[in-house]
Amino acid sequence: MRTTRRAFARAFTRTLCATAVLLASILAASCNNDYAVYQNVAKEQKQNGTAVFQETICTNAFRFGNNYYAATSKLYRSPIHSSTDTAASLISWALVPINCLGNLSSSYTLRAAVVVGGTIYTLTGDDSSSVALSFSTDGNSWTSIALPPTPRPLSTNVVSNNIHSSFTLDALYSAGGQLYAEGNLYDTSTGGAVGVSYYYLYHYNTSSGWNIVSNFSNIWSYPIRGVVYDGTNYWFASTNQLYSSTDPAGLVGDVSQSGNFWSLSSKTIWAISYTGGHLYVSTTDGNLYQDSGYPEQVDSSARPLTKVISVPFSSPSSIILVGTDTNNVNTAACGYYEGTFGSLDIGSSSQDVSSSAVYSTTVSVFPVENFFYDGNSTSGNLFVCIAPGYTSTSYYGLYEVTWNGTSWSNGWEAQ
């Protein structure tokens, strides 16, 4: 009996040691001396977002009048508020009815919504047959406007009609007080059974209507990624090339092989942003180009970088945030990078606009679609639009954080 007990004791001791070594090996490998567990726990905050953004992709947010607007598959608005406000009247988001296909309706599918000067423009529709454009100067009454004309199919097999093609609008862009739309001609007369999409950039002139931006012949094969205005030049980006022009309705040559964009021609452009006095071009392989800096490989996993925004900070006086997307290879969390161009850290490392604990449970997980900052260096509200998808009810499509002139509020607050 005594022998049995000793044998058990030895076996138990060996098992205990083996378990301990295994556990230590697994967890010690990730021991992080510069990460504060309990200080971060103390900073966590419960996310009490509204149902309209739960598991919903938010594509952009903007301010119009005294309301914030957010675009998902619907357009929502809420009175201007900070991330620390708790009053129900401030933090509620209401569906905005839009006049589409002749009726003011809440049963629409929003494709895009942008603000151009004092006007909101919306693009709605489930398919090419139901696409509609509307505008409003007060957010309540809406007026339909004509769609751009269907372009002539590029295929020589299609002469005059649209038997072998369909045309729709994919997106709206606002830059320098100008409205742009991306047209998509799907041509089944070429490309075999799959067909081919051709892309057109339209400029809206309030008097003459829609016109295809000139000199487009080099870009029709590539989706358009955005239009921005830097105060002098309009910048147009397709996935393949970058153009600029002082004429809002004209393109002047490809600049994606010149200046600090010299190596851009070998990349695929994902997004274009003008913020903080600089033009940024994000690529699908994790590179970020700036008009006055050497290109930076921001994401070592070569994930796509999305939008860039400059926001106030204590020291230095401003930083940039750079959104990321998934490349379906590296399935790690997305989130954003933050810091200064040339010295960017993933959000959980530098913790500039959010505590690490809040970042890791909110924005870090999913692709960042867009940013919007409403304010100046002394106060303001920053929104981030993400794409949580139908993955977890714990995540929302829109988060907000507030700047008080000295620091950012504790962390992202779900809307």
Binding site: R5, L16, Q47
Partner: protein, 218 residues
């Protein structure tokens, strides 16, 4: 307020087996009988099993609740009541060897998790050496225990190593010659210490474990 509340709960749980042992319960206890007359599954008398003599061994299993109580941040001289942590769970596996009558040394490996309000999880896995003292008032057995060792923790994809201490005790009912079951309560002291230049991140955290335990007497 919260640490005191948790401690009160723990203390209450600790003494439930004693206070809940009504006269009616005691009447239902198996009769004590000499060794020679006892059936194999009878609860032994104090003379049979409770001396906790040198050479005896026990293994213990426990599952229970992990109650976060406080965190103290020395660099800021501030307390946090860890209200951002939800009530969690714990489990443990222990071995003890009696070196003197009633006095045992051994080892304990445990794990505890607490979800946070933000959707994270704090997981703590201590491993330590224990010293305990046992006594009995058959069919009840009692122990007080102190443990010192180290822990591994994981939170928001980051890990942490640190020193660990635990103290508390349990009250058990000897339900069979080789088995006792009961309730136990321990206070966990979990220091989170960083080396330069990150000492400002230091924290001293405390939890109360209240658990149901089973002890097997080898």
């Amino acid at each position: 307020m919260k640490p005191f509340g948790a401690a009160a709960i723990a203390a209450a749980l600790l003494f439930i087996p004693i206070s809940a042992l009504s006269a009616e319960d005691q009447q239902t206890l198996p009769a004590m009988s000499p060794v020679a007359d006892a059936p194999a599954d009878a609860v032994p008398s104090a003379a049979q099993s409770s001396p906790f003599l040198p050479g005896e061994q026990t293994i213990g299993l426990a599952v229970g609740l992990q109650i976060p109580t406080f965190a103290y941040f020395p660099s800021y001289a501030t307390y946090n009541n860890l209200s951002n942590l939800y009530l969690g769970g714990s489990f443990s596996f222990s071995y003890q060897y009696f070196v003197e009558r009633g006095l045992a040394i051994g080892g304990n490996i445990a794990g505890a998790f607490n979800y946070t309000i933000g959707g994270n999880t704090v997981f703590t896995a201590p491993l330590g050496f224990t010293t305990s003292y046992w006594w009995s008032a058959m069919p009840l057995e009692f122990s007080v225990l102190a443990e010192a060792g180290g822990y591994l923790s994981r939170y928001a994809d980051d890990g942490m190593l640190g020193l660990f201490a635990k103290a508390g005790g349990g009250a058990y009912w000897r339900i069979a010659p080789s088995w006792s079951v009961g309730l136990q309560a321990y206070f966990w002291f979990v220091p989170e210490l960083h080396v330069d230049p990150y000492t400002s991140l230091d924290a001293l955290a405390g939890y109360v474990e209240t658990s149901v335990g089973a002890v097997y007497h080898l």
